[in-house]
């Protein structure tokens, strides 16, 4: 069979532990254009393991672009430069024979490196815990069709709710801002009727948690939207800013706290 394999040089970030000093290690790899970039790393790791060497630590799970587990900065772009594609969905046919590819972890002060390409994104969970939900107990729901929601609103909410929590927006931002991620959840509930009762407390609590987590501020460079694998729109950030302003006016008057 004719061999259409690509011959590549990989420069991969290696770092033993959070405290250790990191460095780029170089590997030569020959790979089929039909393989995904993570399948290429699987292959490299199998080779390293067979040689008794430490494999490259990286994370992935669904390999379908939906779980948000994967995330590598590829040649300077979080998830690579192909638009609306998560790392796991990036196939080698998008690279050229002879190319050198740099692979690095998502870098941000709020995402400490755990090992090699793995970072700790638990701050994202902390922000969601602060208010990314509708407070409501199991069993007390009315019939689902008793709340009519226009198709446009449902679609708008889903556009925002599609965020996979990968953190590429933070890694893309020179300030390491998490605004796109937070605004996606805030927007989902701000446009839906179910989100109204806690609309202002939610944005207040989530923004507070975001600030406490050590993410930077937003200076409207829109690098986040460009790198987001789900195409989450920066219009969500504008909406969150409006919601937050309204909340800060209203909250002192509100006695209800988010439960």
């Amino acid at each position: 069979m004719a061999n259409n394999h690509l011959h590549l040089t990989l420069k991969i970030w290696r770092q033993e532990s959070p405290e250790a000093k990191g460095y780029f290690e170089e590997f030569k790899e020959e790979v089929s254009p039909d393989a995904s970039i993570l399948e290429m790393l699987d292959d490299l790791n199998n080779r390293l393991e067979a040689e008794g060497k430490r494999p490259v630590a990286f994370e992935s799970d669904c390999r379908e672009g939906i779980c948000g587990t994967c995330g590598i900065v590829i040649n300077g772009h979080p998830h690579g430069s192909l638009p609306k594609t998560a790392t796991c969905q990036l196939h080698m046919r998008n690279f050229n024979d002879g190319e050198t590819i740099y692979l690095e972890p998502f870098r941000a002060a709020a995402f400490p490196i755990i090992k090699d390409l793995i970072v700790d994104r638990s701050k994202f969970d902390n922000i969601q815990q602060a208010g990314g939900y509708v407070s409501f107990n199991t069993g007390s729901a009315p019939d689902a069709n008793s709340i009519p929601i226009s198709k446009d609103i449902a679609d708008l909410a889903l556009d925002a709710a599609e965020c996979i929590g990968c953190g590429a927006c933070v890694a893309a931002c020179k300030n390491s801002s998490a605004m796109l991620f937070v605004s996606a959840k805030v927007s989902q509930f701000a446009v839906l009727p179910q989100g109204q009762p806690e609309r202002y407390e939610r944005v207040h609590e989530m923004v507070m948690a975001m600030d406490e987590s050590g993410f930077g501020s937003c200076t409207n460079t829109y690098a986040c939207e460009a790198e987001c694998p789900k195409g989450i729109s920066v219009s969500n950030i504008a909406r969150m800013n409006r919601e937050f302003l309204k909340a800060e006016i209203k909250i002192p008057k509100l006695e209800v706290k988010l439960r």
Binding site: A50, D61, C62, Q89, G132, F136, G139, K151, Q194, R259
Partner: protein, 636 residues
């Protein structure tokens, strides 16, 4: 022998659950605080259960090997979730959903469980909408539905091709609310590696901290496993890379019975295998079968471009053989028929793929209409294959996808070990020998939101389990057991990687314990798996140490368990001398090649008790059908 009591309540089918809820013991709100519950898994089943326990006031500890609860494999479910709402006024009802599910499962599930599943299905949709799950809507603002295989009504609720994501994020939100208020504590990046039993009851777990490698001990008055299915035993499957059977398998080795392991579902609409580095198979949601038509060339080895093959030289084999259900026959029927046409040499270009063609839908609802319904699936197809499915029909082939088998549970979702509950895909309960599309999400959420919150209270109220300390010898013994296992894996230092051994196991299973099984093949498989297990324990190479983040070690432990489970699948398939649902034994088929059930001898749940590696004892739970009449499934 274990005495299997299904604990199905008395009374009419439609009243059983209501009566049972009334008869169960309640725990008063102040006392709930005194009960600790461990939940393993944050998929739909685990997250919904943990959130609801928290709302009720129990003290909950939740474990997942993921970095965040939101990553659980449930997130990847695409197509939708069933419910008997009858919003389309097309004749749906709880009874019809129940009937379709039990028929789809080829009459190998417990009637009362399946009925309860259909009964609570409507509450799930109400619950999720109230959480703000953005389901698809009609222009008038009401909820939209689509149809799925095995049903003639439109009862599937969906959110584009991301239904699992939206449902899981709903449950994750509820879980987060309980984490914030302190009722639930989350332990991410922890892998459960053993179950601790004290005085016959499940009272704790041993987990490995995946960052530090430390072993940790936790105790509780009940342990709930929501740890998902075992399709990854086949190496290539549609499941997420890390999905595995270890939690269930370690519980099995502590005495929990494993039921119907041979009931594994091969999903008809996945992307064909394309290369040797392939790490997983991608599912194209079966909702595509609503609008896509499946065909192969009539001629063998036809290498023409599909667009050049004229209509009268195409065989729409499902429409031809099953005119009533056509492309919407259940999964097992669709998968097997794809295998047959490819075995005949009529697959795409003579290979192992069939066409899924949307040209008729493009004419009916336009490309935009198709895009609106399936846009992200079409994008995904193009991204992976490099082919534009708006121009050329998709190519699909069946792939391992879902496991109906799992730990045995009674009507209360409790295993035969008191205090050990099993929910979601990890149990065996509701789908019999084959699961219908869009009913796994339904089951996970039914179990977690609406069933186990009641039944666990009844366990506490009647059994009154005590709190135990992790200083007890049972914890130490279990911890030592885990430590020994890890040390053994690290000390072999052989020549084969974990993945390469896993691939070998997958090949044996897909060839001999896959879509079609025979006595000869199963005997060979058992022999080969045993040999492979020896090979693994003598020649596997696991680099690194146990005291650090070590992904190779994590995988090694899981593959070691798969090497035992794979054998049990073959043993179970060999025992079941009939064909039913997804379990197809070549010796047992009708003249037309359809599955031939044997209700006389095999209308039972095969629940296997672990004796030692490679040795099990069979326990049978006879399936009583009081309300449905067993019939040969027909989709013609």
């Amino acid at each position: 022998m274990v005495k299997l009591e299904s604990k199905v309540p008395e009374g009419n089918l439609a009243e059983k659950w209501t009566n049972h809820k009334f008869n169960m013991k309640l725990i008063n709100p102040a006392n709930k605080r005194k009960y600790d519950i461990i939940v393993i898994g944050t998929g739909l089943a685990g997250a919904s259960a943990a959130a609801t326990f928290g709302e009720l006031g129990y003290k909950v500890k939740v474990f997942t090997y993921h970095d965040s609860p939101r990553r659980a494999h449930s997130i990847a479910a695409q197509g939708g979730i069933n419910a008997a709402k009858n919003y389309q006024n097309d004749g749906d009802s709880v009874y019809r959903l129940f009937y379709d599910t039990i028929k789809g499962g080829d009459y190998r599930s417990r009637e009362a469980n399946t009925y309860r599943l259909a009964e609570v299905s409507n509450n799930i949709i109400d619950q999720c909408v109230a959480q703000g799950v953005p389901f698809a809507r009609e222009y008038g603002g009401t909820l939209a539905n689509r149809s799925f295989g095995g049903a003639q009504v439109s009862r599937t609720f969906y959110a584009r091709g991301e239904t699992g994501q939206q449902l899981l994020l709903g449950a994750y939100g509820s879980l987060n609310r309980q984490i914030k208020n302190g009722n639930v504590k989350i332990y991410p990046r922890r892998e459960m590696l053993d179950l601790v039993i004290v005085d016959g009851r499940a009272q704790g777990i041993i987990v490995r901290n995946l960052i530090t490698g430390e072993l940790e001990k936790y105790s509780a008055q009940a342990v709930v496993l929501g740890t998902g299915g075992y399709s990854n035993v086949f190496y290539l499957s549609t499941n997420a890379m890390n999905s595995n059977a270890t939690a269930a398998w370690r519980a099995h080795k502590r005495g929990a019975l494993f039921a119907n392991p041979c009931y594994t579902q091969i999903h008809p609409t996945c992307l064909p295998v394309h290369g040797e580095l392939q790490s997983k198979l991608v599912l194209m949601s079966e909702s595509l079968r609503n609008d896509g038509r499946i065909w192969v060339p009539k001629k063998k080895g036809d290498t023409r471009n599909p667009n050049d093959i004229p209509e009268d030289e195409r065989d729409y084999y499902l429409e031809r053989k099953y005119p009533a259900f056509g492309n919407l026959v259940p999964r097992d029927v669709a998968s097997r028929n794809a295998k047959y046409v490819c075995d005949e040499g009529r697959g795409v270009g003579g290979g192992r793929a069939v066409y899924l063609d949307f040209s008729e839908a493009f004419e009916r609802i336009g490309k935009e209409g198709v895009k609106d319904k399936y846009g992200n699936l079409f994008d995904m197809y193009q991204n992976i294959t490099g082919v534009d499915p708006y121009k050329e029909p998709m190519q699909i082939y069946p792939a391992p996808h879902y496991t109906m088998g799992g730990l045995w549970v009674d009507y209360n979702l409790m295993s035969n070990i008191p205090g050990l509950f099993v929910i979601g895909e990890a149990n065996f309960s509701d789908h019999g020998a084959n699961r219908l599309g869009a009913s796994a999400l339904m089951q996970g959420l039914a179990d977690g939101y609406f069933v186990i919150p009641y039944t666990i209270g009844n366990y506490f109220g009647t059994e009154k389990p005590e709190k135990v300390d992790t200083d007890r010898p049972e914890f130490k013994a279990a911890e030592d057991n885990v430590k020994d296992g890890i040390n053994k894996l690290l000390s072999i230092n052989g020549s084969q990687t974990v993945d390469s051994l896993h691939k070998k196991l997958g090949q044996i299973l897909i060839d001999k314990v896959g879509m079609s099984r025979s006595e000869k093949g199963l005997n060979e498989a058992i022999k080969q798996i045993r040999e492979l297990r020896d090979e693994f324990w003598n020649d596997v190479k696991v680099v690194g140490t146990g005291k650090e983040l070590n992904q190779t070690l994590e995988r090694a432990g899981r593959v070691a368990d798969f090497l035992e489970l794979g054998e049990l699948m073959a043993v179970d398939a060999l025992n079941r001398n009939e064909s039913c649902g997804a379990h197809f034994r070549e010796e047992y088929q009708t003249e037309e090649g359809e599955a031939l059930r044997n209700d006389e001898d095999y209308s039972y749940v095969a629940a296997w008790e672990y004796i030692k590696p490679g040795e099990w004892e069979l326990n049978k739970e006879n399936l009583e059908f009081e309300f449905v009449k067993l019939a040969t499934r027909s989709y013609k």
